[in-house]
Amino acid sequence: MNAVQTPAAARGGAPYVRLEGLTKRFGDFVAVRQVSLDIARGEIFCLLGASGCGKTTLLRMLAGFETPTEGSIWIDGVDVTHVPPYERPVNMMFQSYALFPHMTVAQNVAFGLRQDGTAKSEIDGRVHEMLAMVQLDGYDKRKPHQLSGGQRQRVALARALVKRPKLLLLDEPLGALDKKLRERTQFELVSLQERLGVTFVIVTHDQEEAMTLASRIGVMRAGEILQVGTPTDIYEFPGSRFVADFIGSVNMVEGRLVEDEPDHVRIQCEQLGCMVYVDHGVSAPPDAPVAVAIRPEKIQLSREQPPGTDNLLAGRVTGVAYLGDATRYLVQLPNGFQLRVTAPNVSRREERFEQDDAVWLSWHPSSPVVVTR
């Protein structure tokens, strides 16, 4: 398992949710492999990965729908590994929402409370309070099929939150909404979470969703968590080729460490045909093969040659995509290698580069990320 920095543990407090060596096998297939993870109280933790990476299986184990083959799950100091779903202090918002079609909105939201034998008057009060919180007052008598997609999503959220669970699991919570609605709902979800203080674990394949919602992200691949960190950590300091490539757009080149000093390194990159100078040390043996990842927005384009020799390349623009807020360029080096460059459109009338323009590419020595894995 990868070393995972846990804020709660760092602060000395016991983690609220703890996964220990969690493994789930289906026959010969290992869906989740030796996952250990601590989640602090009140966190929004996002499991991010492509489909089939095991993130949903992990979520289902937290909900109690799957029993781990190995390992254990602790919530608020209690081992819930073998506790059935109907006895866990955990609620889930399903990707399909799974609203009961034969019940009204109010009955759907009240369902969980009714299972606990809560008094009728209290149920009514809490249901209406919850419906008000998700802005669905007056919809209590509707059936799910009479609601829009966004309204259904909010009913599902209300139903999952009304029991005040210790942990709320959300499976692709915004996946079924259109883009505009998704952006608005993202912020509503976060503000609701802050108000209620419930710990969220979200599963998503959408990195933008993960970046906006999460306090921390766990990037998953093939049943393992490769890296855990804040959105900034994951984007700016990816720990491996996979994470660097998976999150956002990146130019990835292979290289060899030729100069290894504590305060800087030089990397020989055949694909770029130049030396990459990085202004911080890298923990790798000399001559080790490494990968250099440079984000497109961290490369500057210019017509005149900038001073210096390191981190400087000449190329020719082969593709231009104007996106409004930024322009994406594809720049070809003399040896045929292509780099992606994104330039923000700061001014309305600034001169932009065009197809076949000869350009210079340069980047700050702090920009490249060097990964060994």
Partner: protein, 298 residues
């Protein structure tokens, strides 16, 4: 012919064909039976008076005898036969539901490869004639049949039981024969049920047994209605099973109609009984559909 006209003709053809079929093989026979039910017995072939006659002086005479209906409703025998039929059919339907639901549930939840095999097994009895299967039960339940033989061998009984010609045998035959009609609509209803709804119920603190009654059962109600109708309606008018397996005291309406028609050669009364049965059952179906449509709107 222009293509548009041809396609219109095709469309009408598709709609008209089943209606034509129903007209020839349902509506016309029904009208004939209706006509006979208002007729009177006479010694001729067919043994009924014509309802419509051309009399003297070019007078068209329509003579409707309501006496048959009066007779049917006046005689306790027929009323009891109706009530008996409804009772036996209702009890058989409930038993078929109680057996059929777990069966359908098991099939719908079985792993993929098994499901087809189990499904085929439910339909398999249809490959043999219905009459043959009921005859087989006569052999099985007879005094010297294997059921009595087994019970004797096990020492549970000391002399053969009278199984045939009992109400028990009628129920057995009914449930056995109509069970597939119960299982099939139930299966399709249960199979359609979204399993994440049950997970959602469990997630919200609902135990599996309770989830069955609060989620599974209400959401498969359409299948229950359909299955019950498919069993109840033919069971009410069933003739073969009570005739072959039932005793003299099992008086079902199908058997009474047969007796009136072939035994007494009283076609008008037999027809009147058939009409009353049809009206009764149509009433049931309409009521059920009304209840269902109201539920769907709510």
């Amino acid at each position: 012919m222009k293509p548009a006209a041809a396609s219109r003709l095709g469309r009408w053809g598709v709609i008209a064909l089943p209606y034509l079929w129903l007209t020839i093989f349902f509506l016309v026979p029904f009208l004939i039976v209706l006509k006979i039910s208002f007729s009177n017995v006479q010694l001729s072939m067919p043994p009924v008076e014509p309802v419509l006659t051309w009399g003297q002086d070019h007078v068209m005479q329509l003579r409707l005898h309501f006496s048959n209906f009066a007779f049917v409703f006046g005689d306790r025998l027929y009323i009891e036969a109706f009530l008996d039929s409804l009772l036996i059919a209702a009890v058989s339907t409930v038993i078929a539901l109680l057996i059929g639901y777990p069966m359908a549930y098991g099939i719908a939840r079985a792993p993929g490869a098994w499901r087809n095999v189990l499904f085929l097994l439910v339909v398999l009895p249809f490959f043999t004639s219905f009459l043959l299967r009921v005859y087989a039960w006569m052999g099985l339940l007879g005094r010297a049949g294997p059921v009595n033989g087994l019970l004797l061998k096990l020492g549970l009984i000391h002399e053969p039981l009278q199984l045939l010609q009992t109400e028990f045998a009628v129920y057995l035959g009914m449930v056995y024969s109509y069970l597939p009609f119960m299982v099939l609509p139930l299966y399709s209803a249960i199979e359609k049920l979204d399993l994440t709804l049950l997970e959602a119920a469990a997630d919200l603190g609902c135990r599996p047994t309770k989830a069955f009654f609060t989620v599974t059962l209400p959401l498969t109600r359409e299948g229950i209605f359909a299955g019950c109708l498919l069993v109840f309606i033919p069971a009410v008018g069933e003739y073969v099973i009570p005739a072959l397996l039932g005793g003299p005291d099992t008086l079902m309406i199908g058997r009474v109609v047969w007796d009136e028609f072939f035994g007494n050669r009283d076609w008008p009364v037999a027809s009147a009984l058939a009409i009353v049965l049809l009206v009764l059952l149509s009433g049931f179906v309409l009521l059920l559909q009304y209840v269902q449509s109201r539920e769907r709107e709510a």
